[in-house]
Symmetry: C2
Subunit: 529 residues, 2 copies
């Protein structure tokens, strides 16, 4: 989309006014309203679909009460499908897990932490942020889940690249000022010298330099377009009253030092379609979402602590065997099954769906990820450092540190001390919790000093590959052909759903979109047979 | 501050661990804790200041119950000063004014709007955002005022420069992707061609190009470092489930078109020390702040609808004449007076403080500003356009449009349809409210189409220069010497305070810092005489 299609549109605008102009833009696909309708269309099944076609609602057994499973039961339930959801854990949500005081975190080897978080303090161990364009926002609206901003970036938080030789963290605002300043100085110089004349007209050059002057807060041509710092870096003494104009933070490091520090490499994270601010979270914990869906489904339809032990596709339906909360083996028969467990867990579950399905389920690679929640007795990040939320980004093994996006100005608060994946996650997962805490604190002290150790109240860590019935943070497909395509179709009476069957892996939106797709497929099948 | 001082600090780090390293950094002024202590130190007056010195608390009359006046009475009150606050309006807060359903907005000519906003809908007509480093955040903590994010920028909101020939708004994320992409392409090309060899070493060049590859999401050298769009622009079809990888928004406008559109000129707003995200607001309305201070001061000490008519400095104190809420002229005598009314209002108030003070009060130039609050029956910006908060920036006479930073996902919501100052504010102020609304809607339809008109429920506009007893949005000093310095000192027993006596004019933090300074000055004077 070009920002200007003057020939046609300006003419319309002149004669028809803004309304006519806008309507024309809409017809051309240029108008924001048209642009915004980017999500896959979905019509939930309706009771009238059955009454009008003379068909009856079917019985469906849903495997897993994570976001995909719950959404499947919720959407099918709108038309009156008789759904039963089997869930191995003693809670709904799956990886959507909010840990509060008193909660137990048990890992595969049986080791258990008991959270000592204070009242009102929580940690979203799994998903923690929603992008505005994601369907998750629609579910929050539909279910009345209140939202607030998740602080995915903050000019006041830090960047610290230890391996690049940085000896102190630098605030994002300072790093940005320096990088944008120097690249503006360089590009203005090159442009003005004629080095880019092959790419730029005289008018382009003028406009570009005008832009760079403001973008980098750089000097005039007479001053060599020099970047020499400024208020965007921050202040060592803030502007105040009377004779206190403030002191701008300085001195400015050299261009070479800024490039060597690698701070600029951190910027693009926040440009991504799925990570750009504004991001959101439910008020009070991410598990508000699965709890709200579960309430809409009806708690009596969700069997917790019920681990699936066998899936048998039958000529006329499906039979699922599971171990109930009392350890007894039970069977449930249904017309259809929607399996939403992670593929690597499904692959360990006996079934008769054939070797191709089994091969497909074994195909994705499982990614490790871990988080530690550190509760502090005092919000030193707010009081001492003027950091209210946001992310500090590092090359340390903690990867990133998150300051809480809720409870600003209150007494206690919870910092995510690490959120990492891959090798870093594996190395922390290999440690017992007290050693994870110790290591996280040692690393974090490089950013925040001794108070990071001294003011700690308690902590909890989650290593996703060690969580029973989940055993991983998310998966990756080697290819989107073959197995991925196979599992996006039913195997007999068994359908599949989950973020792993979407192009938004590791996002709840992927689970929700996949549930919608599977619900649509299943409902069409019921209505056309 | 350089990001690296390897010679010394790495040595310390090696031998003493992170704690020792950090302590050393602190001593050098490099550590974040040291860096964060940027605000002017302030110790509130204490009762013990009197008991220990054998002095008694004095009587102080404070003129104006805006943020500066309230903070003055609050801080003096901590030591037991006997304060009376005179306020001409029928509410506290001054320019900190939150308008809700039922509120009346009366202008100088007597014309009155009565707000029809729904329950829970409000408009912060004056200050609306707090930066994290501002002392206002500390007052919110101290007074228990809960905070939430003010959405000062949003990748999903728009830029629209009509005069530059744009015929449709473009989302911030799209504009940033294009501008950052093209400047990265240009600077990589210039760097690689050797055009900047006078400024860059071989290692600098390598690091710079590596940075630009990620910053602009551009191609390799073999591809001419070309910017060709990508997912950062957004999607015309979002990634979804199954066979829905999503469709990246395209086509990408040419470099010339992007430069001509001027979209990049909007970016630097959010780099400013006082405007960079994260920004904050009190939950439920900005007037939570003055209300909380007023409650701490004691409502019985604040006389509303009490307009100051004369200030007389006496040999042993001060006498203030005012018209009380019943229209009767009254006098109050005190040891000191702190005048916090706007300087141009003070200049119209008879006093005996002398011609220099009068000249100083007349010196600042008054700036106009206006806002319109548009309540909609439906949150179309969220539902249709996936915009949850943020600012749309334009070259239209509306200047900027704000989407609400509260009530996400609820039914109704309030858009700030314009927030402008100077000539734009004056031209809207000259219209009666219905015409302001009509014009704002016509302009806003260029961004949002017919629903911007059709779904409107009600509106309220404030033109600050027409607000009785305030008559302006903020002031500017031609110079910080002379009059500014004079009024930052007492005139007899009359002290002054207000954002206009700070380097943070138009910010509540300026009023608060000025109040703290004046309280300190006054208290020192009392304790040393």
């Amino acid at each position: 989309m070009s920002y200007s299609r003057r020939g046609f549109l300006t003419a319309v605008g002149t004669t028809g006014g803004a309304g006519a102009l806008f309507a024309t833009m809409g017809a051309l696909g240029l108008a924001p309203t048209a642009e915004a309708m980017t999500r896959t269309a979905f019509t939930p099944p309706q009771p009238s679909d059955f009454t009008l076609t003379g068909r009856g609602a079917k019985k469906v057994v849903v495997l897993g009460a994570g976001v995909a499973g719950l959404a499947t039961a919720y959407e099918l339930g709108k038309a009156g499908y008789d759904c039963t959801v089997l869930e191995a854990l003693d809670r709904v949500g799956g990886r959507n897990w909010t840990i509060r005081g008193g909660d137990r975190i048990t890992e595969l080897d049986g080791s258990t932490q008991i959270s000592r978080f204070s009242e009102g303090v929580y940690m979203n161990a799994g998903p923690a942020r929603l992008a505005q364009w994601m369907v998750t926002m629609d579910y929050c609206r539909e279910l009345g889940v209140p939202l607030e901003v998740f602080t995915n970036s903050n000019a006041q938080s830090y960047i610290f690249n230890e391996a690049a030789g940085m000896t102190a963290p630098v605030r994002w605002r300072t790093a940005k000022s320096d990088v944008y300043g120097y690249i503006s100085e360089l590009l203005s110089t090159a442009t003005d010298s004629g080095a880019l004349d092959a790419k730029l007209t005289a008018q382009d050059k003028e406009r570009l330099i005008s832009f760079l002057r403001g973008f980098g807060a750089i000097g005039t041509k007479a001053n060599g377009f020099a970047y020499t710092g400024g208020e965007r870096r921050g202040h060592s003494v803030d502007p105040g009253a009377g004779e206190q104009p403030g002191t701008v933070l300085g001195p400015v490091p050299s261009l070479s030092d800024v490039l060597a520090s690698g701070v600029g490499q951190r910027f693009s994270f926040e440009f991504g379609y799925d990570q750009a601010m504004l991001m959101f979270q439910p008020v009070g914990g991410m598990d508000s979402i699965p709890k709200a869906i579960a309430a809409a489904v009806g708690k009596e339809k969700i069997l917790l602590r019920s681990k699936v032990t066998k899936i048998t596709d039958l000529a006329d339906g499906v039979e699922v065997e599971y171990q109930d909360k009392n350890g007894r083996t039970r069977k449930i028969k249904a017309d259809f099954c929607v399996a939403t467990m992670p593929p690597h867990i499904l692959a360990k579950t006996p079934h008769n769906l054939g070797p191709d399905v089994q091969a497909a389920l074994s195909m994705p690679t499982v990614t490790s990820s871990g988080k530690i929640g550190l509760e502090y007795r005092r919000r030193w990040w707010e009081i001492d450092e003027n950091i209210y939320g946001g992310v500090t980004n590092t090359d340390l093994d903690l990867s990133v540190m998150w300051y809480p996006s809720y409870g600003y100005g209150t007494r206690r608060g919870l910092v995510i001390g690490y959120y990492h994946n891959g090798a870093n996650a594996d190395s922390y997962a290999a440690l017992p919790h007290p050693q994870r805490e110790k290591r996280a604190i040692e690393q974090g002290m490089k950013i925040h000093g001794a108070k990071y150790r001294d003011e700690l109240a308690s902590s909890v860590s989650v290593a996703w590959k060690l969580q029973p019935h989940i055993e991983g943070a998310w998966v990756g497909w080697p290819s989107r052909t073959g197995g991925y395509q196979l599992l996006n179709k039913p195997a007999g009476h068994v359908h599949f759903a989950g973020d792993w069957l979407s192009y938004m892996i590791a996002w709840q939106a992927g689970a929700l979109e996949s549930a919608r797709k599977t619900v649509t497929d299943l409902h069409k099948r019921v209505l056309t047979h």
